[in-house]
């Protein structure tokens, strides 16, 4: 973080440079990029351990690995976001020190980040020229527009450059990001998990275009992914990382799917989820009836969603991020007021008050726990008590909080959920991300769960933690609870859910049982109805 803060020139960009300039010189060939022995440590953790990588001009290269394998760290070191502890970068055979993204840009390297770096209130055109090194002091929009038109004639995507980015769909934003890199003359384009926000069809289209452009020798494409399908279908070469080390790679056509899987996850085995031991209960535990809600901008995000979840089953909600899932979860969690519709639990209206949450046994695992479910400055013990600080034995006489009781409760939960903290009094902000997640898990799953809403519960966790959380969720279901699992990870849904529904533009557009689930049909509904 501090590296990012300090980077860059202080203030406004310097005078225009003689080199290139915006408008996209699509003719120039991409450079040959080599990374040798890159090492990066974060504290005690070696995120990257002497990893080497070669990006041949005009190839489509995949960097494959599980969450936490070091893929993002590798390219961020290459791009000058992180300062590597050791390692060299050679561009066309010359060693280069890249200490800042601008250096990387000057060498023709560009990156599309997982969280888009477009400015939402600006138009596509404004976003495109923003990154230009020679952005003139006064922008003559007629000239820019002429160049954009010339540029658009040579590129494979059609985008309305005059619309504010906030009105574009996720797929269009992804395209615009890629266009921006092309427009700014970048020859090596790195995409960080590009398909997590795309439907399978959109992903195929974008990756297909990238592959064509690499075939034509116009650029080198690099994708960071954990999806084997994308590697096998599009990449020419692959580098596989595991726990910060390069564990294999080479031309994709010489590697089998099984070999790649073995390299990627090694000896670790994904445990099978426990099969349901409790049968699905006949009466629905959680019912949504015509639920409608707006997003922060006041636009309707959830449109008339009706759904029933029975005790003893997991219903998975699939969908590309940004189709109303967040707002739906927020409504269920009590963070957002619905515009209309009803939520019923065990047949009765559910007003999302504390008393009802407690009586009905409703618990929520939200994504980004630090943002949604915890207080950084409060202790682990306090964070663990959010659900029951006002109940005996934590509260005496109903209003006096006993700190001693909170600590006792915390010690037990820390033990049971293996939270690594210096003690119950440690401020939550001193814990690692995984342990924050465990803290929330301990709080939400240690009660009497009748209804559980879980949203991307395993995002960003390593394979062991993922397996543990998934088996705990399955365990809650097996104990008879109704589970609504909202996930952007189709594999997760296919593994856990008994039924899958697809959410698109705020509506539920498709439903299938797990037994009949077909990846392509689901993908089709994720893209349109």
């Amino acid at each position: 973080m501090s590296g990012r803060e300090n980077e860059g020139r202080h203030g406004f960009p310097g005078p225009p440079r003689a080199r290139g300039g915006w408008g996209g010189h699509i003719g120039a060939p991409p450079p040959n990029v080599e990374v040798v022995g890159m090492t990066k440590r974060f504290g005690d953790l070696a995120a990257l351990d002497a990893v080497s990588l070669r990006l041949r001009p005009g190839t489509f290269h995949a960097i494959l690995g599980e969450n936490g394998a070091g893929k993002s760290t590798l390219v961020k070191c290459l791009m000058g976001y992180h300062r590597a502890d050791a390692g060299r970068v050679l561009v066309d055979g010359t060693e280069r020190v890249i200490s800042n993204p601008r250096h990387a840009h000057e060498l023709g390297l560009g990156m599309v980040y997982q969280h888009f770096t477009l400015v939402p209130s600006m138009t596509g055109a404004e976003n495109l020229i923003l990154g230009a090194d020679d952005l003139p002091a006064i922008v003559r929009w007629d000239a820019v527009r002429a160049r954009l038109e010339a540029f658009q004639a040579r590129i494979p995507f059609a985008i309305d450059f005059d619309r504010p980015v906030s009105t574009l769909a996720a797929g269009e934003k992804q395209k615009l990001e890629i266009l921006k890199q092309l427009f700014l003359g970048r020859r090596v384009i790195i995409l960080d998990e590009p398909t997590t926000v795309l439907t399978p069809d959109e992903a195929d289209q974008i990756l297909g275009v990238m592959r064509e452009m690499t075939r034509a020798g116009r650029l080198t494409a690099v994708i960071i992914t954990h999806k084997l399908r994308e590697v096998l279908a599009f990449a020419d070469e692959v580098t596989v990382l595991r726990a910060g080390r390069r564990v294999g790679g080479g031309p994709v056509r010489e590697l089998s799917r099984a070999e790649l899987v073995h390299m990627m996850i090694g000896a670790a085995r994904m445990p099978e989820p426990a099969p349901p031991t409790a049968p699905r209960r006949p009466a629905p535990a959680l019912e949504l009836h015509e639920l409608t809600a707006s997003n922060d901008k006041g636009l309707t995000a959830v449109r008339g969603v009706s759904l029933r979840v029975h005790g003893g089953e997991i219903v998975g909600v699939a969908g590309v991020s940004g189709n109303g899932q967040r707002e739906l979860v927020e409504v269920l969690a009590g963070q957002r007021e619905p515009d209309s519709g009803q939520i019923r639990i065990a047949g009765e209206g559910y007003g999302r008050t504390r008393a009802e949450m407690r009586r009905r046994g409703v618990f929520v695992l939200m994504e980004e726990p630090l943002r949604n479910a915890c207080v950084r400055g409060m202790s682990v013990a306090e964070n663990l008590a959010f659900r029951n600080f006002d109940e005996p034995p934590n509260a005496r006489g109903g209003w006096l909080v006993s700190r001693r009781a909170l600590r006792t409760q915390a010690r037990a939960l820390i033990e049971r959920f293996r939270i690594r903290a210096s003690g119950p009094d440690a401020p939550l902000e001193t814990l690692s991300g995984g342990n924050v997640q465990r803290t929330v898990l301990a709080r939400e799953l240690s009660g009497d769960v009748a209804v559980l809403v879980a949203q991307n519960p395993c995002a960003g966790l390593d394979i062991a933690a993922t397996a543990e959380i998934r088996s705990r969720i399955a365990g809650v279901r097996n104990a008879g609870a109704a589970v609504l699992l909202i996930s952007e990870d189709l594999d997760e849904l296919l593994e856990l859910a008994d039924r899958i529904v697809v959410m698109f533009e705020g509506r539920l557009v498709y439903e299938t049982s797990r037994a009949q689930a077909d990846l392509h049909t689901i993908g089709h509904y994720m893209a349109s109805h």
Binding site: A333, G334, Q335, R352, T353, R354, A355, E356, M357, R358, V364, M366, R371, N372, A373, C374, V375, R376, G377, M378, S379, E382, A385, F386, R387, F389, D390, A395, G398, W399, L400, V401, R420, A421, S422, G423, D425, A426, E429, T430, L431
Partner: protein
């Protein structure tokens, strides 16, 4: 851990105090004065003699109460700076009740006046809290505006509807009469307001530290999304903290009337509300620390007159020192959590 957190807060606040005193020293040195002599006088004027100490404690009483007006809502995540307005409205309400109860038994009237002052201030700031929760209106800006509106309302009343034409020097309201004035604490020249202030701070501390209400408010202040997820009654928490905070400042207004002035006039709005904000921030919103910090800043205010007489410094010199201190405190906030020695070792 608790001790570590206290030590850290104290160390950071002390660092801010020292650096702002140093800056202030530069200021007075530019006037050709010896900073050390000014510091010595400052200390002497605040705590040097029994008289100055009593003056300091008297000054600190309204500061404790107005500080709570910022500190209490701040625990719920609100940045309220409406202490000045709540104090003024509280004072006006006190006079209205006091005048209309003329002839009633004094203890009853005094209780009624205090209640009226607290109620006026509480509703004044509570309105900002309600607007924040139910209308999304930024409470910082709305409370600042309410300060100006409160002063305008008071000016309107004391120049017209409740003007006492016997007072010719400046517009003032009818007096509540000497029978309704509370005196000084036995054996001192400090009025009873100090006891009110200390009691309010202690009460707030118990409320925030030991009750389920305080725990819920801390969750809300730490992360409103988490509080909603826990099903806490956000609106009630915001409303109650802002009403209690406003009530504290309104009580300060009541005390200014029943212990100091006896009538409402422009001298109600002399900046206690604004200094109270500084007290709250310097105390890092902790009600116990408010007591100490209020005495410290009461001392600075109290010694203003002495600085003026001894060195010819304008009375605004204390405002400058307070402003420097405020900036220093906020800048020092960046140090919070940076010192390893105050943190428990992580496993």
């Amino acid at each position: 851990m608790r001790i570590g957190a206290w030590a850290e807060t104290a160390a950071i606040s002390a660092a801010a105090l020292l650096s702002s005193l140093a800056l202030f020293g530069v200021f007075v040195a530019l006037r050709g004065l010896d900073p050390l002599e000014v510091y010595a006088t400052l200390f002497h004027g605040a705590f040097g003699t029994r008289f100055s100490l009593e003056h300091t404690l008297t000054q600190s009483a309204p500061l404790m109460l107005t500080a709570l007006c910022t500190a209490l809502p701040a625990r719920a995540g609100l940045l309220v700076i409406g202490g000045e307005g709540a104090l003024v409205i509280g004072g006006v309400m006190t006079v209205l009740v006091g005048v209309s109860l003329a002839g009633a038994p004094a203890p009853l009237a005094i209780a009624a006046m205090c209640a009226a002052g607290a109620l006026g201030g509480g509703l004044w700031v509570g309105a900002a809290g309600a607007l924040r929760h139910w209308r999304g209106v930024n409470e910082t800006i709305s409370t600042l505006l309410l300060n100006y509106i409160a002063i305008a309302v008071m000016n309107h009343l004391v120049t017209g509807p409740i003007r006492d034409f016997a007072q010719v020097l400046k517009p003032a309201s009818w007096p509540i009469g000497p029978a309704f004035m509370i005196g000084e604490m036995p054996g001192t020249s400090i009025h009873w307001g100090l006891a009110f202030g200390v009691a309010a701070c202690l009460g707030t501390w118990v409320l925030m530290r030991h009750t389920t209400f305080g725990f819920a408010v801390d969750i809300l202040g730490g992360n409103a999304r988490a509080a909603r997820m826990a099903g806490l009654p956000i609106g009630v928490l915001i409303l109650v903290t802002s009403i209690l905070g406003g009530a504290a400042a309104g009580l300060a207004g009541a005390i200014e009337i029943i212990a100091v002035h006896g009538f409402a006039s422009a001298s109600l709005a002399v900046g206690y509300g604004y200094t109270g904000i500084l007290v709250a921030f310097l105390a890092r919103q902790n009600p116990l620390a408010v007591i100490v910090v209020a005495i410290l800043l009461g001392g600075i205010s109290a010694s203003g007159g002495l600085l003026q007489r001894r060195f010819g410094l304008p009375d605004a010199a204390t405002l400058v020192l307070q402003g420097l201190l405020f900036v220093a405190v906020l800048a020092a906030n960046t140090l919070a959590g940076r010192f390893r020695i105050f943190r428990p070792r992580t496993a």
